[in-house]
Symmetry: D2
Subunit: 289 residues, 4 copies
């Protein structure tokens, strides 16, 4: 490892920091970016309601899973291509860029023409074939930390992307696996602060998968903002109790709205603010895209 450490992702190679643009939204600058939406696209109505709710509350990017990596082959595997169309149309209607997960290289062409950010899931953080393929793409990639990846391994996974030519990389901390059974994972906010020291890449936090518990998402979101994260990736579902996937960790629209009202004061305390398009009044966002 000593001989093969990260290079291009290190802060010294770009001391001013990297800002990644997602169809106008900038991640990694002073603006704090909130990506929100359902864990999985389950249908047109659910996605429309989620998109409307997160847009109304002030989110900047719409998330939604269409190809779902599931522990069991018998669990809902996502809607696939029809789900992708539903997601993209909802994003367009509400003026929100869209993020969705890509599970293997064969899905890249379809995803690259549809979504604004391609997400690499935690289980694929060291799927080096997928990383190599994404490194040749000219689309932002969000790279989640693996379930038991060290910070060094996570940075080296990002190095695969930069080394192959793709510099539009956003890191995402989503909790690591520990012995603690009462949270789904253990959110490692010190890793966020450490990565901000070591690397020029933006880092956001997914408190939904990290905690697996609706009640912990708001405090952990505020903590992430205070710790220096550049944004959040949050699950919001119009009816969490009916969700086909991870409903217990999704916020209701009301809870999400409440979070978005609490964030600005915490961000102000660390000299940040919710992202907004420069020179354009915030209500115009949808139209200006």
């Amino acid at each position: 490892m000593k001989d093969h450490g990260p290079e291009r992702v290190l802060r010294r190679s770009r001391p001013e920091g990297t800002r990644v643009k997602l169809s106008g939204v900038e991640v990694g600058g002073p603006g704090f970016v909130v990506m929100a939406g359902p864990c999985a696209v389950e249908g047109a109505e659910q996605t429309e309601l989620a998109a409307a709710a997160v847009r109304h509350a002030g989110a900047h990017v719409l998330r939604g899973g269409v190809f779902k990596p599931r522990t069991s082959p018998y669990a809902f595997q996502g809607m696939g291509e029809p789900g992708l169309r539903i997601l993209v149309e909802a994003g367009r209607r509400h003026g929100l860029p869209v993020i969705a997960e890509v599970m293997d290289a064969s899905q890249i062409p379809l995803m690259a023409e549809s979504v604004d950010v391609l997400q690499v899931g935690a289980r694929n953080m060291q799927n080096f074939s997928l990383l190599r393929a994404l490194s040749r793409l000219r689309r932002p990639v969000l790279l989640k930390r693996g379930l038991s990846a060290t910070v060094q391994e996570w940075l080296l996974a990002a190095e695969y992307l930069l080394d192959g030519g793709n510099e539009e990389v956003i890191l995402c901390e989503r909790g690591v696996r520990t012995f603690e059974p009462d949270t789904r994972n253990t959110l490692d906010l010190s890793a966020v602060a450490l990565v901000k020291e070591r690397s020029h890449l933006p880092v956001i936090v997914d408190p939904s998968h990290a905690t697996g518990d609706q009640r912990l998402v708001v405090p952990m979101s505020l903590a992430a903002a205070a710790a220096g994260a550049d944004g959040l990736l949050i699950e919001v579902h119009p009816w969490p109790e009916k969700a086909l996937c991870d409903g217990h960790q999704a916020l209701t629209p009301d809870m999400f709205h409440d979070l978005m009202k609490k964030l600005p004061a915490v961000l102000a305390a660390v000299d940040r603010h919710l992202w907004k398009p420069s020179g354009v009044p915030q209500p115009m966002l949808g139209g200006a895209r």
Copy 2:
């Protein structure tokens, strides 16, 4: 475990929450309490400088180790009783209550007559003999979470204290042991939020031991405040580079001062504030403040 779960520590047994008084300072109310000082008392000058610095910056309690649990028998084991006198005198001079660690039941009488809070270290969280002895005491106890203790085990350790009759208990999250080598431990702030849900006991955070890295202490302190912690336990040393114990994780007085200036805005964002004595003008606390 199901048959023997916690009872007295659960929130339902005291929904309004517990407020622990340390010679006038209240932990667990709206005021956020900062305990700071050296990892170990090394001498009169070091302790005086640390006490003066943390008092000047606005800390409420002076911490300092005199009996030090050390992994190696060849490492500095603390100054013992002479160190305790130094610590207590420094606290008195600066009007600060004092917290120090008690390693076994035989030290309780000495400690109980000298310090305001007795700390149970992470390695002793399940030293049930010590917990039983402390449960019979009428002094506040700060109970650190064990290195690999689940939240349930931590609450059950506190249950030993309450069950024995001591209700003056403060919990302290100090990081758990994981596979990550680049931080000393992994600070588990979701455990703080979870404990605030489940229990009526106050919870504070020790970002110094959790991260083991001076550079991460400030962001993690702010994150702890945003996550709903009731206070902090922080290592401050006048000359971290010369410390006999854990110098790399101690803040300098300047860094600590900087942290204390940043905390109020984060606290205000979550409807909290730095603790101050009610009805008494703040400068009057110590006399010198």
Copy 3:
């Protein structure tokens, strides 16, 4: 998870156990199968020497990596297709079936026509796209346990293979990630015993990656045999000190020879024996293939 547990991999669905045939070698019956060879194919001479040595000592299958998943993009990534030819020819010369790792679905056609078992590495255990593709193949698959996969998740990954139609699955325990820094991973032999209880699939053990330490490979191999494993996957290199990959964990040919002499007595103690072709004297193995 409760609703989506494993089915086809459970022992009750095939109480007599599964025996997987690799070009004549049977894994999962009373015979204990040893797969050995270099971590990575580095050239023709190294591979020939390793193959000759492991064949001479009594190994049944030749292992060798040609596409190498490496934490750093700057580490040796394997020889690829030319390496595959070297490995296959060495296997043929010495009458040994061959196992090599497949990193993504696009490599399946090439691998399936060349090697006798396709290995899924620990980092790909939950690469569900790869598992789905391999489930449609009629070739044995060796599925390594993920670095922090629970036994349940491991069995569910195997369930993807069986559910898709491929029943020729061998599980491989290779250590899990823990806080212990002095071994590369922590070999979990209780998982082997647990899987033998729960599932009908054969389970082998890789003590080389698990320990990362040449000196621990022999005791852990004997322990694996005593714990009920169906075989071993071991790294052997003619010159470990010059290896391009993980040399510190490779056995020399002499060490491997020594291990092969120690195994029969331990196996006999648990009513097993080193695999040999039924009705055919062992020296004929190469010719009989």
Copy 4:
């Protein structure tokens, strides 16, 4: 840590290895020592039946808990001093030395006059006050590895004992805490092999606490023997289903008998044998003590 590493426990300080004598039974030589009995002494009949059964099957030492460290204050805490008398008498009747856990320094005088080995439990591995007190004793100490202790920390805990003057130390691996929920802990047999490399101290294995599962105790016991352990510490209960403590992990007398019949062949495979008094026919053990 580098500056304060272990010294006296290292193999180089006693290359021939340490043999600890327990009233005639020798741990750390070629003989493999089995300590067995109930998790907790629950009464005279239960203890007598357990002692008779383990003696009959060939165990060398009787174990039994009288002061029980329990996660919950509401769980059975052990019979205390009356239990100790029951245990000691059962041992005497059956000619078996006795091991029991000491929870704090105040119990040392009572324990030291009653039992042959004082056990330090996993939760107390870094109770340095207890270690210091035991280091001044002239009685063998069995030091369990902490739930999340590194091998280095475990050796340093033993160093406290040797540094204080007590060289009669037996180490005991009992599983470490990981993310795996389907075994109580993860038995780390590579730690046993590693400690045998690094240290001259004997190491035994507790597969009962490690796995928490009756069905896994036999395979893990055989694996421990094959890995080079010097003995076992096993829970046996006449009626596991009625046990007040950890019944699911206790062997029945029949299961234990079966294990004792399987061990000799595995031990022979690694040039060991079940311990027996030198020059004295084995059936005389009880009388010869």
